[in-house]
C-alpha cells in the first residue's frame, strides 16, 4: 500500500512536470514576454523602456530556456523557465500581471476557502440526491415512473446550466424575493447567499448524474449475486440497498471523485453569477483582464488538485471495496 502510494505520488510529480512544461510553452513561447508586456501596459505609447521595466518587475527579463551568457549549470537555472518552474513547485506563485493586483499565493488561499464553502455542500448533496433519485428509478424500473424519470433526466441534461442560473435568479430573487441575487458575507450569514447557487447547481447536474448512476445500478442488478440474493428470498428493498448499492459504490466513487478537484477550484459560472469571491470567479476575472500569471497559476493548482484527487480515489477504493488491494 505504502509503496504503491509512493509510486503514485512520484508519477503524479512527473505528470505535474509535464503540465508545467505545457503551460510554459503555451504562455511564454507561443507569445513572448514582450507581447504580454505590450498587452498589459496597453495604450498606444508603449516604449521599449516601459516593456523592459515591466519585465524586470516580474522577473521576465531573462532568456526563456537557455541562458547563453552564463556558465555551467547557471546556463539552465538563470532562465525564466527554471525560475518559474521552481517557484511553482515551491508553491510561490509570484505576483499577478495586472498593476493593481498583489501576490497570487495568499489570494488563492483566501479564495479557496470561499470556493469550498460553496462546493463542499454541493458535492455531498449532489452524490446523495443523484444516488437517491437513481435508486428510486431503479426500484420502479419497467414502469411509467422509470420511463418518465429518464425522460425528465434527458430533458434536464439538455438545458444549459446558464439557463438554470438565469431563471433561478429571476424566479427566486427577483419575483419571489426569497434569496439575495448575489453577494457574499464571511461568517455564518453566508448561508443565505449559498442556498440558491447550491440548489441550482444541484439541479443542473442532476439529470446527467442520475442517469449515469441508474445505468450503473442496472448493470449491477443483472449480475448473478443479485439473483442469488433474490433466490434466498430477500426482499427487493434489501437486495437494492444492501447488495446492489454497496457494489455500485465503486463506479460511483470514481465518477463522483472526478468532481472533487472542483470542490476546491469552485465553479466558474456559478461563482461569478452569484458574486461569490471564490477561485472560479478569480479565473474569470483573470481571463477578462488577460492576466496570464493568474491563469498559469490556476492551471498548475488545478492539475495539482486533480492528481491529488486520483490518489485519494485509489485509497477510497480499498475502503469501499475490500477486495481491491493496492500494491
Amino acid at each position: 500500500m505504502v509503496s504503491y502510494l509512493v509510486r503514485r505520488v512520484l508519477y503524479g510529480a512527473l505528470i505535474l512536470l509535464g503540465v508545467n512544461l505545457l503551460t510554459f510553452f503555451l504562455f511564454f513561447t507561443v507569445n513572448t514576454p514582450d507581447d504580454m508586456a505590450r498587452l498589459n501596459i496597453g495604450g498606444k505609447h508603449v516604449t521599449q523602456d516601459l516593456i523592459d521595466r515591466w519585465k524586470v518587475e516580474r522577473g521576465y527579463d531573462k532568456p526563456l530556456y537557455v541562458n547563453e551568457a552564463k556558465q555551467g549549470t547557471q546556463r539552465l537555472t538563470e532562465t525564466i523557465f527554471w525560475e518559474r518552474s521552481v517557484s511553482l513547485f515551491e508553491l510561490h506563485f509570484g505576483r499577478a500581471d495586472a498593476e493593481s493586483a498583489g501576490d497570487i499565493g495568499p489570494e488563492v488561499a483566501r479564495r479557496m476557502g470561499v470556493s469550498v464553502q460553496l462546493a463542499l455542500p454541493l458535492f455531498v448533496l449532489q452524490v446523495f440526491a443523484s444516488t437517491a433519485f437513481a435508486l428510486l428509478l431503479v426500484m420502479f424500473r419497467h414502469t411509467r415512473l422509470d420511463f418518465w424519470g429518464v425522460v425528465a433526466c434527458v430533458l434536464m441534461l439538455s438545458i444549459s446550466s446558464l439557463f438554470y442560473i438565469i431563471v433561478g435568479q429571476f424566479l427566486f430573487s427577483r419575483l419571489l424575493r426569497i434569496a439575495p441575487i448575489s453577494g457574499y458575507e464571511p461568517g455564518l450569514s453566508v448561508v443565505k447567499f449559498l442556498v440558491l447557487p447550491v440548489m441550482l447547481a444541484l439541479l443542473s447536474r442532476l439529470g446527467t448524474e442520475a442517469r449515469l448512476y441508474r445505468a450503473m445500478f442496472l448493470e449491477e442488478i443483472g449480475k448473478d449475486y443479485v439473483r442469488t440474493a433474490r433466490a434466498k428470498g430477500l426482499s427487493e428493498t434489501v437486495v437494492l440497498f444492501r447488495h446492489v448499492l454497496r457494489n455500485a459504490l465503486l463506479p460511483i466513487v470514481t465518477s463522483a471523485g472526478s468532481y472533487l478537484p472542483y470542490v476546491f477550484l469552485g465553479s466558474l459560472v456559478f461563482e461569478s453569477f452569484f458574486g461569490l469571491p471564490g477561485l472560479g470567479a478569480y479565473v474569470i476575472d483573470a481571463i477578462t483582464k488577460q492576466d496570464f500569471a493568474v491563469v498559469r497559476t490556476m492551471v498548475f493548482v488545478g492539475s495539482l488538485l486533480y492528481i491529488a484527487t486520483f490518489v485519494l480515489i485509489d485509497v477510497a477504493y480499498t475502503w469501499v471495496d475490500p477486495r481491491v488491494r493496492l500494491g
Partner: protein, 488 residues
Amino acid sequence: MFKFVFLWTDLTVWALVAFCLVYGVAVVRSPGLSASWRRVFREAPAMCSAFVLALCLVVTVADSVHYRSRLGAASGTAADTVQYEVQAHSLLDLALAELVQSRETSYSRPLDYEALRLETVSVNGHLVRMAPRLKHGGAHLSDPQHQWHSDLLSRVFTGLLFGLGLSAATAIVLFGLLARVRRAGFVETAASVWNKEGEVPWRAALWTLAAIATLVGVVVSLMGSYHVLGTDTTGNDVLYQALKSIRTAFVIGSLATIATLPLAVVLGIMAGYFRGWADEVIQYFYTVLSSVPNILLIAACVLMVQVYLDKHPDMFETGVERADVKLFLLCSVLGLTGWAGLCRLLRAETMKLRELDFVQAANAFGVGSVRIMVRHVFPNVAHLMLIVTVLDFSSLILYEAVLSYVGVGVDPSMNSFGGMINLARKEMSLDPVVWWSFAAAFGFMVTLVLAINLFADGVRDAFDPRARAFRPRLPVTRKPVAQARNQG
C-alpha cells in the same frame, strides 16, 4: 456579379457533408452497417429528432455558403477595377434579407407594432410620452389597435393551413408508397401506421413532420411583416440571430468532435496495439492533458490564440473571416484538449481485440502492424468512435455557452447561443423584463440539444448492444406487421 468567400469552417462543413454522403453509400452497401442504422430509425425518439436535426442541417449548410457581392464602380476609380462589399453574406442572409433589413432602433416585444420604450413626442404642440410605432414590425397596419388581432389571426391561420396541407400531402404520399411496398390497400396501410404497427415508427415521424411544417408555416407567414421573436437592444431581429446561431452551434459540435478523432484514434490504437513503451508514452501524454481542468486549459489556449490574432490584425479582409478563423481555432483547441477520453477507450478496446484470433491469425500470416491496425483493428473500434462522437456533440454545444460567458468562446460579432444568453443576462434585470432574447435562445438551444441527445441515445443503443439493456421501456409492446395483417 459576386465572388465566393471560402471560410475555413465553410470548407469543413462542406467536407463533412461530402463525408456523410460517402458514408451513406458505404452504409447502404454494407449489410452490417445498414442493419445497425435501420435499428436507429426504428426508435421513435431517434426518428423524430433526426427530422429536427435535418432541418438544422439545412440551415447550417445554407449559412455556410458565403459571398461578397460586387459594388458599382465608385467615382474616382478606374472603371475596370472591381470592388466588392466589405461584408461577406451567406445564402441564409439572402433568404432572410427581409429580416436583416427590417432593423428597428431598439427593443420591441415579439409580434408587436410598437417599440418597448416610451419616447417623448410632440403632438399638436403638446409633449406626450408614448411608444413609437416600429419602422417595420406591423408597419402595414393603418389602424393597429383594431387591425392587429385580426391580421395576426389571419396570418397564423394561413401558416397553419399551409403546414397542415403540406403534412397531409406527405402523409398521403407516404401511405401510397408504403401500400405499394407492402402490397396492401391504401386504407389498410394508413390504419396500420395509425395503430403504430410495423417496425418503423411512421406515425411519430408524421407527427414530427406536421409539427415542424405548421411551425415553419406560421413563422414564415408572420415573418414578413412582424418581428416574430422581437428585436434586441440595437433593433436586430432575434429570430434571425437565433437562426444564425444554429450554424455556430453545429460547427462547434461537429468540428470539435472531429478534431479529437485523428489524435485519439491513431494514438489510442497504437497504444493498445504496441503496448510497452509506446503505451507508456501515450498514456503519459493524455494523463498530462486530462489532469489540467478542461476549462482552464481551453481558456489558456484561447487566450494565446487571441493574443496572436491581436498581433496580426491585417491577416483578414473582412470581419466575418476573422471571426471565422477564431471559431475554427476554438474548435481545434477543443479538439486538441479533448481527445484523452476517446483515446483511453480505444486503447482498452484495442488491447482486447489484439488478443483475438483474427488478429493473431493476421499476425501469423505475416501481415504488417500498420495493415493490421488499419484493416483489422480500426473497423472493429469504429462503432465506439461513432458513439462517442454523437454523444460529445451536445455537450460541446452546451459548453460553447459557458465558454462564451467566460470570455473565451466565439467572437462577439458572431451570432451564437452563448452570446445571446450572455446579453440576455443583463436584459432579464431590466424593467420591463426583456425576456424574448433569452426565451429564443432557450427554445432553440433546448430543441437542438435535446434532439441531438435523443439521436445519440438511439445511435448508442443500436451500435452498443450492452447499452440497450438500460433503455427505459413503457409496459406496452408494438405489434409486428404480419400479425396485425392476419388479424385484419
